[in-house]
Symmetry: C2
Subunit: 264 residues, 2 copies
Amino acid sequence: MADSRTTRSEGLGASSPAPAVTRAAAVLEALADSPSGRLTLSDLSRELGIPKSSTSNLLLALEEARLIIRQGADFALGRKLVELGAAYLSRLDEVQEFYKYCEQAPTLSGETVRIAMLDGDHVIYLARYEGHPAVRLTSNIGDKMPVSLCSVGKTLLAQLHDHDIEAMFPDGMELPTMTANSLRTAEELKAQIATIRKQGFAFEDEESTVGVVCLAVPVPTHGAHGPSLGLSVTALKATYSEEQGALMVKELKELARSLGNPMG
Amino acid sequence: MADSRTTRSEGLGASSPAPAVTRAAAVLEALADSPSGRLTLSDLSRELGIPKSSTSNLLLALEEARLIIRQGADFALGRKLVELGAAYLSRLDEVQEFYKYCEQAPTLSGETVRIAMLDGDHVIYLARYEGHPAVRLTSNIGDKMPVSLCSVGKTLLAQLHDHDIEAMFPDGMELPTMTANSLRTAEELKAQIATIRKQGFAFEDEESTVGVVCLAVPVPTHGAHGPSLGLSVTALKATYSEEQGALMVKELKELARSLGNPMG
DNA sequence: GGTTATTGTTCAGCAGATTGAACAATGAAT
DNA sequence: ATTCATTGTTCAATCTGCTGAACAATAACC
């Protein structure tokens, strides 16, 4: 939780074409990363290394834009961010298609399916289809998850070049863990990636949550740009069978293929 | 669609404590409002009245912060906004409680329930519980809706002071419509608000979608600040009955009360 | 209550971001 | 091909937003 602090620490040193904007973005990020989600002017000034008077100006401007709000003495993220985030998602054609496909897929339509996107060494969940009301995930849209801890993360990693993976996970690096089954070292992760590349899909066996298994496939990126997306199904280990898994992978792959092709 | 143009038009004239930030926010908003979600540097420069060279600087800084991304020639909202929006929602304790309550409520647990927030003359949907997989709303989290067109919007309006309502909807004002049942004038809206205040809940009869009815209640705002929230249930008119409606209103009110009390 | 350590605000001077005109690079039209 | 229109980039001069020290206003402490 507190380890990603160094990432932001300075970084503002490098001159920006519009420093005020870069700093404002840092403010938003600091608020998002803060455990309580609320920071005072002084907190922000101290943490980001920005003079108080400047911080005050930034906060005033951000507040006027409703990107943040005052709550008594301290500041928190504003509701406009929900709007902007939603605007982003609504433009992502893949999300619309994702819902439609899930609803009419023979096996998937009864499961919990998610579409996620790579964001550095984390994965962000963009949308969730729930075909099985009994099993409900605690995770929400927009949540972040370390790549090494979920099957989607690993499929997305598997699509990167080896030197990128090496840069993110140098040998000997310890990984964050959540259960006894979680991968522990960079070496284990790379071994799994090799398997995923061979199989074309990832399987996760109680690595993030006890009692839960996961299957995931990558969405082939059409063209150069565009985010790398992945699909996953989550199922209870108790009711999971290999045959069912094979069916789900087949449907996931079909959906992934259709998402990859610009024209459905 | 194109009528809200004037709102943003200048507005930047008023001096800001950090103009670059205010302009950057305007850029994000312009991208969110744009039908295609993609605008070029020149588009933005023209629309916002910012010199091209300055716009270029803003875009570079925003891109570096990953609040926007380049897509060939033009720019679009970035995925970081999803993250920030999610961070906002995750701090909203009400959303967590909302899910929990819906799951174990006798009647609501089988329906589609949503929690929404007032944002000017629109309503933003923050979370959606779906107990009935057969009926799936096309609306997504973060979507916006004119207040006058949905029951949640009207309950939230009903909580405002009369002079605020008068300012937003002066007599004679025409309202946006979506079906034959949609309210058409400010007078009709105010009459409904009076009814809602008496009843304590709002009923919507195919005013936004044919074949769909809605019930909504406001969440009492505890203390001075904090957003005004509302809850709604959506049901098919075909299967809707008054008795069922009464049950749902009862449960909605209970949930609203518990959300209103800081300590559950 | 008096002291100390905070907090957020104010303001004048300087560092520096902003600007517009001129530039090159692309694409549309003749 | 040649022109025309438009795009995004470059750069030096200027205007202005940023800064830090001093301020007032709380809050925490003994």
